[in-house]
Every structure is written in C-alpha cells, then in structure tokens.
C-alpha cells in the first residue's frame, strides 16, 4: 500500500489566526471526501510564540503530524518563520510565504537582526516559492484581519477542492456580516 497522504504545514506566530485557517482547510478537505487529520498546540505556546498546524489528508490518514522531509506545502504566515520549518519540506515542495515581519524578542531588544535574506535562503533549497503580502491584500479586501483568509485563498489553488465547496465552507465559517469581506480576501489570495 503506497502512502498517498499529503501534508500542508501552516506556520506563524500566536494571534495570526493559524488554527482558524487550518480548521477551515480541514473542513473543506473533509467536504471533498478526504480523510483528514490536523494537529495544533494550545496553551503556553500561544502567547506570542511560534504556532504550527499540520493538515494531512488522503484516503486514510494515520498520523496528524508529518515527519521531517515529507511536507508538500508550507503556508507561512510570517516571513522568518518560513526558515524554521524548511527541514520539514520534501524535495520539490511548494513554499508560500507572507511577507509580514513580526519581530521576536531578541530582535526587539536589538540583540539580533531580523534575517534579511529569507527568500534567498529558501531559494537555495526550494525553487517553488510564492511570496505575497497577505496583509496588504487583506487591507485591500476591506479588513486587515482577513490576512489568514487571503492565505487560504492562495493555498486553495493547490488543493483538490472545488470552488463551489470553498464557497460553502467559507459561508459557514464566518458570521453573516463578515462573509463578504472574507470571500473577497479569498479571491484576492487565489489570484495573487
């Protein structure tokens, strides 16, 4: 039996809406007939620390987390966080990164520099890189807090989920008055 499980790794910083985004991806995948498992970490780590969520799908998924060197897509919500997870990526993996920079404490204190060459470093190992400004697109959509929906829009291009299903899932995922702006954010991400 060949293992056909695919993995999307979402990474970023506490407060960026990563767990919410991974929930929405999982629901869309389940609605499309896949078995789905996802991991997340709560508690202490959420206070401004690194946050990751593995979303795994296929015919039958066992582990909710992937091993190093096996992830298909990295969806990084913060620029430098991209680097932290490159060793999880499989050869030829797709890297999607948000250009937003959130300074870790050592950078805030002037003790370390924010890495300047995130995209160049990533390019040394992976060719397939899409760098976008999700925050700007969210602003364009009409609400800066929809950056995570922009990111869902971007990654939606590479998932076996129909536009009709995305529409239904997004419709259910948000309170009525926020549906339109999130739909716009999704569209902007999808065509970014």
């Amino acid at each position: 039996m060949k293992n056909t499980t695919k993995t999307i790794l979402l990474a970023g910083v506490g407060g960026q809406g990563i767990l919410r985004a991974s929930d929405i991806l999982s629901m869309a995948l389940m609605a499309s007939g896949f078995d789905v498992k996802k991991s997340e970490v709560h508690g202490m780590a959420q206070r401004g620390g690194c946050v990751t969520s593995h979303v795994r799908y296929g015919e039958k998924v066992y582990s909710p987390i992937a091993k190093k060197g096996s992830v298909d897509i990295l969806l990084s919500f913060e620029k430098l966080e991209t680097l932290r997870y490159l060793n999880y990526m499989k050869p030829g993996a797709r890297i999607i990164l948000n250009e937003e920079e959130l300074f870790p404490p050592s950078v805030n204190l002037g003790e370390a520099d924010y890495p300047k060459d995130v995209v160049e470093t990533t390019k040394k190992y992976f060719k397939n890189i899409l760098s976008i400004n999700a925050t700007a697109l969210a602003f364009q959509a009409g609400n800066i807090r929809t950056a995570n929906t922009v990111m869902i829009g971007v990654v939606s291009r590479y998932m076996d989920v129909t536009l009709k299903t995305w529409g239904e899932i997004l419709n259910d995922a948000f309170p009525k008055k926020l549906i339109a702006v999130n739909m716009t954010a999704f569209e902007l991400g999808r065509s970014a």
């Binding site: 929930d23 970490v41 401004g48 987390i65 096996s70 680097l83 950078v107």
Partner: protein
C-alpha cells in the same frame, strides 16, 4: 453525519452520548476543553472545582450517588488528586467514575513530563488510551461501562497530540443509562478504616484478576496480522506514527494499557520474527513484556524523552536519520512565548526584577517574566509552591533573609493551593511578602472562571471569594492592594512591606487584558517622538512586544537630542499592537513617548 473534532471535544461528546451527567475538574493544558465542551451539553452538571483533589472527591461522591461521573485534569493534576484516588480504588464506585489524565510528552505546556500510566498500575485501576478523536469518543463510553461492571474507577489517558489533534468523528444520539440509585451505602465498603480497608485490599486484587481476563477479549485490544517479519506493540498516538511509516508490519494495538493482556501479547510475540514496543516516555509496556520473559526491542532504540512523530519511529527502527533536503542549522532568532501587550503582570515583575530580593514564583502566565528582560521571578516548582518555598527560604536564612524574600502567585493558583501555605506563613511567622497577581481569571489555560470571579463554569452567578477577608482570617496582619500599572506606587508599597516584620500580603489587582473589551482597552495608544528619543533603551526593559529597537544605519550623523554625543539608534512603538497601558511612558526620562491620538 461526520464532523471534525479534537480529541477533547470527542471525549466530551462520548461522555454525553453515554449518559454521563456529571463532570468536575480543574483547568490544565491539554485537558481544559474537555470540561468546557461537556458543560455545554443539555442536562449535564459540570463544575470547575478549586483544584484537582476537590474535583476528584466531588466526582467520587457523584458516582457514590449512582451517577456516571467524570473527573478531568492534566497529568500533574493527578498528583494533587492522588490521595483520594488511591483509596477510591478500594471503595469502588457504585455508579461510574472515569478519571481523565491528559499527559504532555514534550512538555508543551507543563512543568514536567511524568508518564501517568504508572498511576494506573500504582493505584490498581484500569486505563484506556485512545489514539484519535473517534476512538476518544468510543473509549470514554467503554470506560464508563468498565467502571460500572467492575466497580472500579477507570482512567482514560490522552496525550497532547490526542487531545489537540482534530480528526473525523461520527457522533451518535445520546442514550439514557438505567438509573442507579442508592438507598444506603454499605459502611464496610465505604468507611476505609484499617479493618474494612484490609478486606477491600483483597477485593482489589481479585478485581485486577478479573480485569486481566477481560483485557484478553476487550474489543479495543486488536491484532492486525500483516507482514510477520516485524511486529509492533503500541497504544495511543504512537500507533498512528508507526502505521504512517511502517504500514506493512503486524500490529498489536492496545486500547487498554493496564492491565495488559498477557495471552494476546504471547500470541503476537510468537507470530512475528522481531518484536518492537513503540511507546513514548517510560518503558511501561516494555518492562511488563520483559518480565514475561519475552525478547523485545524498546528503549534500547527509542528515546525516553519528548513526544515521538513518524520520523522518530522510523529513525529508531531503521537506525539512521530521516532524509531532509532543507537546511539543518540555520541561526534563526527564537520566538519564545511572551506576556501580551498591556499585560498587568508586566509592571509588577518589572518592579520586582529591579529589587534586590529573591522571588519564589509559581505557575501561570506570570511565570514567563523569569525571562529577559524582566527577570523578575527566580523559581517555579508546582502550583502553590511559591508561598511554601518563600517561607522555607526566609526561615533558613533567619536574620539575613529579612526583607529579601518575596513569593508571587496568580489568583487561580492561590485558590488552587496557596491558601493553606499562606496560613502557614501566619501560623509559623515568617518574614516574607506574598503577592497575589490577581487578574480575575485563570489566564494561562484560556480564561476560566474560579471562586474569585463570581461566576461558575456553566455561567451562573455565585459567591465571590474575598481575598482580603480570607487573609485576615488566616492571621495576616498587613494587607495592601496595588495597581500594577502604577510603577512608582508598586515600588514604594513593596519597599514598605519588605521593611516590616512578619508576613504581609500584597494584592496586585488589575484584570487580564484579554478580559477587557476593545472599547475599554486602547482608548489611546502611544508612539515615539523621534525628536526626543535618545535611544537610552529604558523602555525596552519591559519586554513589551510592540516596542522595538532600531539601530541607525552605518554613517548616520544623528546625535543625541540636545547633546553632541552620537546616537546609535532609537525605539519605535507599533501602535497597532499598543494597548495604551502607559508603563513605557512612566519609564521614559525624556518625555519621548507620546499619545498617538484617539483610536477608533
């Protein structure tokens, strides 16, 4: 219908489906959501108890009265509840009692990495261990059935990955179990004086024998015959890790990790050429199999510490690292968790960090202030330990310790296990200053109510604990209230209290920023006046996330405002995250921190 649920949500669902009507416990990652979710179902009673010991005792009582009751806690919570646990094993349950222990391999949110499977053996109580959400939903029901059938408390153990991973669940309609009522409890079974307890000891051993037999045919102890070259015995989440990388091997998947099915294990061991045990933390199953005289590979190749993942299982069995093309040793600035912008703990610990005192700390969000730049807390052992350790230090140092020892703990932690130790400081007279960092919530675990908030888990208004009256009653003579956003006053009250003899209590009172609505928060935010900032870095001492330091580029001619000295850089404040707490403004000696205007 299929839905995606976390392991914790699925446990709550399963308990509801099988007619559990009662649950109690105390919050603790990764267990917290079980009780929060269960509390929402119709017709159930659920409570946050002040601590796990009370939580378990309450559930024991509910089971005695015939209910299907559940006590929920994180792994270290079982330490707190251990006293009633060991004897409830003797009395049995009458109704059903399931104790949920949520373990935390890798210490994602814990102070230790204990393996609570040992408690099952130690207390002679069966333990089930699900591997995903659907199993969690089913296993909790089995746990209730086993409890009723064998008149025993039953453990359900999860780990962080089971509790917090999400997978597909197919919920069922709830059923009502037949009601068990009690007319009168048999004293020889429930009054554990030596005479009765000796007899119950024998019942417990007989019960274990019956459970061993039951384990042999228990539906969730499952043989999966496949390639017989290698066989893996495993339970819980590690089953998934192993299946992910070695789908072709044979498996004995254990749904019950205590007592173990020796017959099944022997049959499986005979059927495979090489036998592995894949288990995180202690060699719990492995030691048992070895004691049976069976050759097995376990901790000789697998790590003792941290949670596994499919890669760890593959590396351990294959004996070489998994392939990864990504960079291995990039120098990436770490991103540890931090106090939120506007957190009331920041001002208090800024002051403590600058004083020449030893601060015994405790567990909660405020523990994070041990880090740079605050460095305002110097020890942390377990919930409630701050007061006892402060008292011990002060007594051991005698005269030398006068005015030098402070103990700090949060409001929820104080209620959990600080009250008796505060009483001890009064009773045995120590020269410590105890601070309750009272933010009106249990913030670390996600804002749960407690007896000091005046609201229950199910949202009912109730009595509110008054810390001042309580402390007076315990015999504390000096009690002060401070506002931690006022740095000057905080400092002077601390100095005064440290210079008095005898224990005193300081209540540092301001609600958690996450409790404040957007309208009360952020009436104003701050920015740096670039003309005035000298780059002195005083504001950076707060470690506030929106404040950062920027070095001027090479060749910059800028001099410190009003001076001829060259200026190296300056601070900035990201107004988007500033809450307007004013701490940085109080620290700035150059009036360089100014309001950035009304925020809509």
């Amino acid at each position: 219908m299929k839905i995606i649920m976390s392991g914790n949500e699925a446990i709550a669902r399963g308990a509801y489906e099988c007619g559990a009507t009662f649950a109690s416990g105390y919050p603790g990652t990764p267990s917290t959501e079980i009780l929060e979710e269960f509390a929402k179902y119709e017709g159930v009673y659920a409570e946050w108890s002040p601590n796990e010991k009370v939580g378990l005792e309450v559930a024991i009582g509910a089971a005695m009265a015939g209910a299907r009751a559940m006590a929920v806690m994180k792994h270290v919570g079982v330490n707190v509840a251990a006293d009633p646990l060991f004897t409830a094993s003797y009395t049995g349950t009458n109704g059903a009692l399931v104790i949920i222990t949520a373990d935390d391999p890798s210490l994602h949110s814990s102070q230790n990495e204990q393996d609570n499977r040992n408690y099952a053996k130690f207390a002679k109580i069966p333990m089930l261990e699900p591997s995903d959400s659907e199993e969690a939903r089913i296993f909790i029901k089995k746990a209730f059935e086993i409890s009723e059938t064998f008149d025993t408390p039953v453990f359900l153990r999860t780990t962080t990955r089971v509790s917090h991973s999400k997978s597909i669940v197919e919920p069922e309609e709830p059923v009502k179990p037949e009601k068990r009522v009690v007319e009168r409890l048999d004293p020889s079974k429930y009054v554990m004086v030596p005479f009765n307890a000796r007899n119950r000891r024998i019942v417990v051993e007989e019960r274990t024998k019956k459970l061993q037999k039951y384990a042999e045919t228990f539906s969730e102890n499952r043989l999966e015959w496949n390639d017989r070259k290698a066989g893996i015995i495993t339970a819980g989440m590690t089953y998934n890790y192993a299946k992910d990388v070695f789908p072709a091997y044979s498996y004995l998947k254990l749904g019950m990790v205590h007592p173990l099915p020796e017959g099944l294990i022997r049959e499986f061991a005979r059927g495979v050429r090489k036998l592995y045990v894949v288990e995180e933390l202690d060699p719990f199953i492995e030691e048992h199999i070895r004691a049976m005289g069976i050759k097995v590979v376990g901790k000789s190749v697998f790590p003792y510490t941290n949670e596994f993942d499919p890669g760890v299982v593959e590396e351990s069995i294959k004996g070489r690292p998994v392939r990864s093309v990504g960079p291995q040793n990039l120098n990436i600035p770490p991103r540890p968790p931090n106090l939120c912008p506007g957190c009331p703990h920041r001002g208090l610990f800024y002051v403590l960090g600058k004083m020449k005192v030893f601060v015994t700390g405790d567990i909660g969000c405020y523990t994070l202030s041990f880090m740079k730049p605050l460095e305002g807390l110097h020890s942390c052992i377990c919930m409630g330990a701050s007061i006892g350790t402060a008292h011990g230090i002060s007594k051991a140092l005698r005269e030398k310790g006068k005015g030098k020892v402070v103990g700090v703990l949060g409001d929820s932690t104080f209620i959990h296990s600080g009250i008796t130790s505060l009483l001890n400081t009064a009773y045995n007279k120590s020269d410590v200053v105890i601070i309750i960092a009272d933010n009106s919530t249990t913030a670390m675990t996600g804002m749960q109510h407690h007896p000091g908030t005046g609201t229950t888990l199910q949202g009912n208004m109730t009595a509110t604990l008054d810390f001042e009256i309580l402390a007076k009653g315990l015999g504390i003579e000096s009690i002060r209230i401070i506002d931690p956003y006022d740095l000057k006053n905080t400092r002077s009250v601390m100095k005064e209290e440290l210079s008095r003899p005898g224990p005193s209590l300081v209540i540092s009172r301001a609600p958690c920023v996450l409790l404040l609505s957007k309208t009360t928060l952020r009436k104003k935010t701050f920015r740096i006046d670039e003309e005035k900032c000298t780059g002195c870095k005083a504001c950076l001492g707060l470690g506030c996330p929106p404040i950062s330091w920027h070095r001027f580029p090479e060749g910059s001619e800028r001099t410190v405002p009003g001076k001829t000295k060259k200026q190296e850089g300056m601070a900035t404040i990201d107004s988007a995250f500033c809450t307007g707490c004013t701490l940085c403004q109080q620290l700035c000696g150059f009036k360089a921190i100014v309001e950035s205007g009304e925020v809509s």
